[in-house]
Symmetry: C3
Subunit: 361 residues, 3 copies
C-alpha cells in the first residue's frame, strides 16, 4: 500500500493501551503497543527477533516487554535487554521500534524515518482534554475498506442526503448540494465550510435540541493529512445570526474528531469521538449523541465496504469527478502530490538499527 | 475465466427482479438488476462511475436507478441522467449496461457485444408459461464450482447410480450404463436420449406414481450452449409402448429446466424448475417433486464442490474420457470449438460507450 | 512447500482408517486412506482419474475403492479395475498410489519415490503396543502453522517457563535455562537430555504423583526427521539417584510420541500419544494425563499459529539463534542439509505409472 510514511497516524485511544499488550496492524506492519509502569507508551514490531513469535502474547515486566514464547525482553526502543540462558546480548538482538506519542487521549504513531519524527505535526485537538465544555465519548470501528475511502466520504457531505436519510441527512436532498460551500487549501490538507440557511433541521439535531422552525446549519471540516478530519457542525434558529454574525450559541453544536488509519490495503481503523456542545450538563445527551453518530458511521461502513469490493472487482474503474465533490478532489490531489514527493525521496535506513541507536543516545 | 461472451445466460428468475435492486455477479462482472415502474428489467454494472459505489445499494426512481451514495441517477442504458449539484452531465458519465431480455419467467443476460445480441438465440421453454399442463416450481442454488462441472454432471447420467442411490438412481447400477443411448449434435450443443427398458422404477418415480411393476424409462437431455440443459424424463409400465410407439402418457413424466450461469471461475448459479407431468391437478405433488429434485441437486452440489477443490489442488489432472460419458465429451468438444473461435475473433469495443450510444438512437 | 519426500510421515492413527474412506491432505497432496476387508490400508490420490472427483466420497467394495461419482473402481495400488459401461480399461486409467505402512498403531505414508520406500526407516515406538506397562491415549490436533514450527517448539523446552506456566512450566523460570543440557546428533536427527536437579515439581507432576519436596527432573527428546519427536520425561524425589544412578522408578514418568505432518505450507497435523508410567493401573490417571497434555498443546497451538501469521506478514524476518535453543538449531541444520541433498538429487518418475507398475509385479 502506498501510504505517507513520514506522518502520524492515530494508533489507539489512550485507554486502549495498558500493561496488557495490544496487537494492531498499522499500514501492513504488525505492531504491539504497551504501557510501562511509569505510564510511557511504546510500540514495537509484533515479532520477536528470536523466532518471530508475537510479542503481544507476552507480558510487560519492569525491564520491558517479555516475549511469551522464550522470555526474551525488549525495552521500549526495541533493544533486547535479556535473553534467558545467556549473558551476552548481540547487537542485532532488537526489534523495530516505532516512534509513538500520546496526545489529547490518543496514541499516535510515526511509521516513517524516526530521525525526522516531529511531534508538532500531530493535529491539535484539545477538546479531548476539556470534558467540561466538550463532554464527549469515543470509539473505534474496523472497516474493510481502504482508509482513503473514509476520507473521501468525509470530504463530500452531499452523501448525507442519500446514506443518512434517517439521521443527519433528513430533509430535502437538494439542500445539501445547494449549500454555500467554501473550500480552502491548508499547509497540510484541505478545509471546507458549508452553510445551509433556513433549512429544515435534520432528525439528529431536532431530537437533541428544540428549534423554533427552520435552522441555519453549518458544517466545517478540516482534513489534516494523512488521516485526520476535524469537524465542527451545528445549527441555530434560522436568521438568528449564526451565518452573518457568528452567533452560534444556543442551538445544536457537535464536534467530531475522525482519525482514520490504514490497517492493510483493504482495511482500516476509524477512531472517532463525539462532543456534545448543546446540553453539556446532561451525560445522557452525550451518550445519545455518540450512539446516534455511531449509527450513521455504520451506515457509511456498509456502503464503503461494498464500494471497496466493487473497486477490487472492476479493473481501472472509470471514475468521474463531479462539481459537488470538489473538497474531496482537493484532498485527493494533496495526497497524490505528497505521495509523489515521497516516491521521489530517498529510501529509509534500517529501522531496527535506528531504533536501537536512538535509545542509546 | 474463459466463457462465451456473445451468448445468453440465465441471470435471475423474473420474480427475483423487482424495484428493489438485485446484485449478482455474472461471469466475474458485478451487475445490478432492477425493474422500473413500467416493468422493464435493466442490468447495469454494479459500480457507480463517480466513486465506484455499488448501485445495488441505491433505489429505483422514475428516472432510473439512483446511486445510494451521492445520488447520481442512471437510466436502463447506463447513461447518467442526473448529477446532484450540477446541470451539465459529461458524456463519459455512464456505467456499462448489459443487454437483458425477459422470456419464459427468466431474465437473460448477454455478456458480450451488445450490437450483435440476438434474442432469437435464447432457448425456448414455453412450459414455464403453461401452469395448466406443466405445473411447476422453480429455485436457484449457489454452487462453489465452475459452471461447466454442472453441465458435465447433467451430460453423464451414469452418476445417478452412485450419487443418487436414494432417489432417482435407485435400483441396479448396471442398468444405467446399459441404457440404450443416442447422442446427437445440434446447431448449438448436443442432445441425447436414454432408454432403460423393463427397469425397476426409481424411488422418486414410485413415490409419485403407482406402477404395476417394472417400467420403461426415458431420459432426454438437450444441452444448449453455454448454460442451458432441457430435460424431459419419465416412465410408464414396461412394455406399454413408450419406447416403440411413443405412448408416454399415464406414467411418470418430469420436465426440468437447468440454467447454469458462471458467477466466478469457481462458482455458479444453478437456476432450475421442475414440472409435474403426472398429477397435474395436485399442487402437493408439484411441491413434493420440487423438494425431491432439490434434494438430488444438493447431492450433486456436495460432490461438485469437492471435485472443484480437487481440480484446484491437483495441477494438470490426468483426466480420462470413458465410454459412458460420450455425450459429456461431445458437449465439452462443442464448447472448446466455440471458445477457440471466440479467441480468434476481434476484441470488443468499449461497452459503456456502446451502451450509451444504443440508448440515444 | 519444501519437504523431504523420501521419508515417512504419520498420516493417521490406525483406528482412524476404516472402511469409510478418510480424506487427508499430506504435504499439499489430497489423499484418501481406506482399509479393505482384509484389514490392509491403502492411500490413493483423492482425485479420480476420470473427472477429478474426490474418491473419499466413494465407498470400499471388495475390488477396491469405488468412486462415488461414476463408479470407477481402483485397487490399493491405484490401478483402475472397473469402468462401468466398458470392458477395456486403458493403461493410463490409474490414480497415484502412496506407499503406506501400519506400525505401532499409526498409519505411515511415504510421499516420495515408491521404489526406495524402506519401512525400516519408520521410527520404532513399541510403547503403543504395550498397554500394560505404558497405558496411553492418543489424539490429533490440526494446527494452522508450518509443521517445522512444532518441531522447533519441541526442541527448545525453555518455552515451558513462559507458555506453560500453569502446567509443566510452573516454578522458577531460571531453572529451565539452567538445566544440565546435553545435545547429540543422531543418524537421522538430533536428541537431547535435560536435567533439572532439586527443582520444584511442576503442577502437572505434583497433581499426578505425591513428592516429598523438590525433585530431580529429566526431559529426553529425540527428533527423528522429518516429523517425529520421541519424548521421555519424569521426576523422582530429589537426590534419590535418578540422575547419578539411573534410579528413575517410583516417581512421575511420562512418554509422549509426537508425529508432526505437514498438511499445507501453513498447516499441519499433530498426532500425539501420552503414556502414563506412574499410576499404570488407574485408567483415570491415563485419562487425566492425556487431558493435561492436550491443554498444554493447545497453549502451544495458540502461540504457534500467531507466530505463523507474523512470519507470513514480515518479509525476511531477522531471526536470531540463542544459546538455549542449540538443540532446535541442530535440528534445523539437519533438515537444511537433507533438503539441500534432496534438491541436488534427480527428479522423480511419474508416480501414477510407478504405482501401477509396482502393483503388477
Amino acid at each position: 500500500m502506498e501510504v505517507l510514511k513520514n506522518e502520524w497516524y492515530a494508533a489507539a485511544w489512550s485507554n486502549e493501551v495498558t500493561e496488557k499488550p495490544l496487537a494492531r496492524m498499522i499500514a501492513n506492519e504488525p505492531i504491539v503497543f504497551f504501557r510501562d509502569a511509569e505510564g510511557k507508551v511504546s510500540g514495537l514490531m509484533d515479532h520477536c527477533c528470536h523466532r518471530g513469535a508475537p510479542l503481544s502474547l507476552g507480558k510487560v515486566i519492569p525491564e520491558g516487554l517479555q516475549c511469551g514464547y522464550h522470555g526474551l525482553v525488549f525495552n521500549g526502543a526495541g533493544k533486547c535487554v535479556k535473553i534467558p540462558g545467556q549473558e551476552q546480548i548481540p547487537a542485532r538482538a532488537c526489534v523495530k521500534s516505532y516512534v509513538v506519542h500520546e496526545k489529547d487521549q490518543l496514541v499516535w504513531i510515526w511509521v516513517g524515518d524516526p530521525e525526522v519524527a516531529d511531534t508538532s505535526l500531530i493535529p491539535d485537538y484539545g477538546f479531548h482534554d476539556d470534558s467540561t465544555n466538550w463532554p464527549h465519548k469515543h470509539g473505534v470501528l474496523h472497516l474493510k475498506c481502504n482508509y482513503m475511502l473514509v476520507i473521501d466520504n468525509l470530504m463530500d457531505l452531499t452523501h448525507l442526503a442519500y446514506v443518512h436519510t434517517k439521521t443527519i441527512g433528513s430533509g430535502a436532498a437538494a439542500a445539501h448540494v445547494e449549500a454555500i460551500m467554501k473550500t480552502e487549501h491548508t499547509p497540510r490538507g484541505v478545509k471546507f465550510s458549508r452553510w445551509m440557511l433556513d433549512h429544515e433541521p435534520p432528525l439528529t439535531y431536532s431530537k437533541a435540541v428544540k428549534f423554533n422552525g427552520n435552522v441555519d446549519r453549518w458544517q466545517e471540516f478540516e482534513f489534516v493529512a494523512p488521516g485526520s478530519v476535524i469537524q465542527f457542525t451545528g445549527a441555530t434558529d434560522a436568521g438568528t445570526g449564526a451565518y452573518d454574525r457568528g452567533a452560534r450559541d444556543g442551538g445544536f453544536a457537535l464536534r467530531v474528531f475522525h482519525g482514520v488509519t490504514p490497517e492493510t490495503d483493504g482495511s482500516c481503523f476509524y477512531f472517532y469521538s463525539t462532543a456534545n456542545g448543546y446540553r453539556r450538563d446532561e451525560p445522557i445527551a452525550t451518550e445519545e449523541l455518540f450512539d446516534e453518530v455511531t449509527r450513521t458511521f455504520l451506515e457509511d461502513k456498509l456502503i464503503l465496504e461494498e464500494q471497496q469490493a466493487r473497486l477490487a472487482w472492476v479493473p481501472s474503474p472509470p471514475l468521474l469527478d463531479i462539481v459537488s465533490d470538489r473538497a474531496r478532489v482537493a484532498a485527493r490531489r494533496y495526497m497524490e502530490t505528497r505521495l509523489k514527493q515521497q516516491a521521489e525521496s530517498k529510501s529509509q535506513t534500517s529501522r531496527c538499527e535506528a531504533g536501537v541507536a536512538r535509545a542509546e543516545h
